[in-house]
């Protein structure tokens, strides 16, 4: 109850005209100023109530399927959602995003299986260690800077291979940001309701395009 009260007061203390900065090198002051709260958002046990996540609708980005699932957090009453994006022509190219719009416009936590390499522009690290290719997670550090990182599993070649599969990977994601289905289980994932049993793994973006 005490926690709830603290969070309530503190959510309402946000500056209304705060402009969210999306650049990782810039500081997101909302996260920085409320870093304990931000960490609690990630650390506390959250739940979803869908045992199967069936990804079948096209989202905002072209060629990308997207499904949204409500997430409950013990201390917040505003809507928190888990978004799952999958490329329609490559089922190994997916993202999990935890979004809590009352706090941040951008996802508060995210996993990218593929896509752009992130630059953790943080002084005191050798340049090559600042470069974080996918797969990787994204979160904010105590300075409010969005950083990418790899877990031990993602750095272990054999475990990393297993995590290329979306269904295995969502378990890893759920462990990393503490979500479960109901009490203590994990969801299964269907893509286009497993239509015809096909799985698409075209990882060459230039395939079938005739450049002139």
């Amino acid at each position: 109850m005490t926690n709830k009260l603290v969070y309530y007061v503190y959510l309402h203390s946000f500056t209304p005209n705060f402009a969210i900065e999306t650049m990782a090198s810039k500081k997101n002051h909302k996260v920085k100023d409320n870093y304990i709260f931000y960490n609690e958002l990630l650390a506390k046990r959250k739940s979803i109530f869908s045992e199967v996540i069936d990804i079948k609708k096209f989202g905002n980005h072209p060629r990308t399927l997207e499904e949204s699932v409500d997430v409950t957090h013990p201390d917040v009453s505003d809507k928190m959602v888990l978004l799952v994006d999958v490329k329609v022509n490559n089922y190994n190219f997916f993202q999990f995003k935890l979004r809590y719009k009352e706090f941040l416009d951008n996802p508060i936590f995210r996993f990218d299986s593929d896509g752009a390499t992130h630059w953790n522009q943080i002084d005191g690290n050798p340049l090559h260690k600042q470069q974080i290719p996918t797969p990787h997670f994204h979160k904010f550090n105590e300075d409010g800077v969005e950083v990418a990182y790899k877990t031990d599993h993602l750095q272990d070649e054999s475990k990393k291979k297993a995590l290329e599969d979306i269904e295995n990977c969502i378990v890893h994601f759920f462990h990393e940001c503490n979500i479960r289905v109901n009490e203590n289980s994990f969801p299964s994932i269907k893509i286009l309701s497993n239509q015809l049993g096909f799985s698409f793994e075209n990882e060459d973006p230039n395939q079938n395009i005739l450049f002139l």
Binding site: T22, M23, S25, P62, T117, H118, N120
Partner: protein
């Protein structure tokens, strides 16, 4: 300072940032060039016939760099065209995604193309982070666009109206605030014009002028029955003396009907 050592460190650090991923018949090259939102640029090299093509893999327009191009903003488009021309970048649409690419006829030209094309991608992604419009302008547009759209939705043939619609699916730059289907093969294009200052108002007139002009040079020309410009004559930017001249030009140049918000009922004359 040991200058040689510093240079060697920079060279080896930079050199170590080049990474690759084999992707079917293409090679992804992760370059040391980064954007202002801290993404390293990836390029995709593929060989077709005797030529080499270096592409962005459709990543710019798919939001893979966490930003989307602001291709409705005239300032953005000017900068975009500048970079596109400077590095001789071409584009092709594939299944709803625009791919940008450069071509190298000879193997020896690949490194030079990689440098030019990386610079292009790096800049396009970075400028996509910039908010070119002021907050007041965004609010003015949002307010008038909602008002105009809500008014049009009251029309009893609303099902014939499509909002924020592309004239041609393959030409993403030809987007109108509304398109009305008068009959099979006959349409009315509608664009809203407002602006919080005289220069924003003028720029929105120019944009509508260009869109109508482009529609008239497209293969749909013979299907366009009317072109309507719905003018926010209550907007702060409307009052400037030059505005009337620009609107007069829009009418004469494109044949657009100019309809002030204060006489919005006139729109119905064209929607039948």
């Amino acid at each position: 300072m040991k200058f040689d050592e510093v240079l060697n460190d920079i060279r080896s650090s930079f050199g170590g940032l080049w990474l690759t991923k084999q992707r079917g018949n293409s090679l992804e090259i992760i370059t040391p060039y980064a954007t202002t939102n801290n993404k390293f640029i990836s390029l995709f090299i593929t060989e077709q016939g005797d030529d080499f093509f270096i592409t962005d893999g459709g990543w710019i327009n798919s939001g893979m760099y966490d930003v989307l191009p602001k291709d409705e903003d005239t300032t953005y488009l000017k900068i975009f065209e500048h970079f596109k021309m400077s590095f001789d970048v071409k584009e092709i649409d594939s299944q709803g995604v625009t791919f940008y690419y450069v071509k190298a006829n000879k193997y020896i030209d690949i490194p030079s193309r990689v440098l030019g094309f990386s610079t292009f991608v790096q800049n396009i992604v970075s400028i996509s982070e910039i908010d070119f419009e002021t907050k007041t302008e965004k609010e003015t547009k949002h307010r008038f666009y909602s008002k105009a759209t809500n008014y049009l939705k009251l029309y009893d043939q609303e099902e014939k109206l499509k909002f924020n619609k592309f004239l041609l699916d393959e030409k993403k730059e030809l987007k109108f605030n509304a398109i009305f289907s008068n009959s099979a093969g006959s349409i009315t294009l509608i664009n809203y014009i407002t602006g919080s200052t005289d220069s924003y108002f003028a720029s929105n007139i120019f944009k509508t002028n260009t869109l109508f002009e482009m529609a008239d040079s497209s293969k749909y020309k013979r299907h366009i029955k009317n072109k309507l410009s719905l003018i926010d004559n209550n907007a702060a930017g409307y009052l400037h003396r030059s505005t009337k001249g620009y609107l007069f030009h829009l009418k004469n140049h494109t044949g657009s009907e100019i309809i002030d918000w204060s006489e919005k009922e006139r729109i119905k004359e064209f929607l039948s």
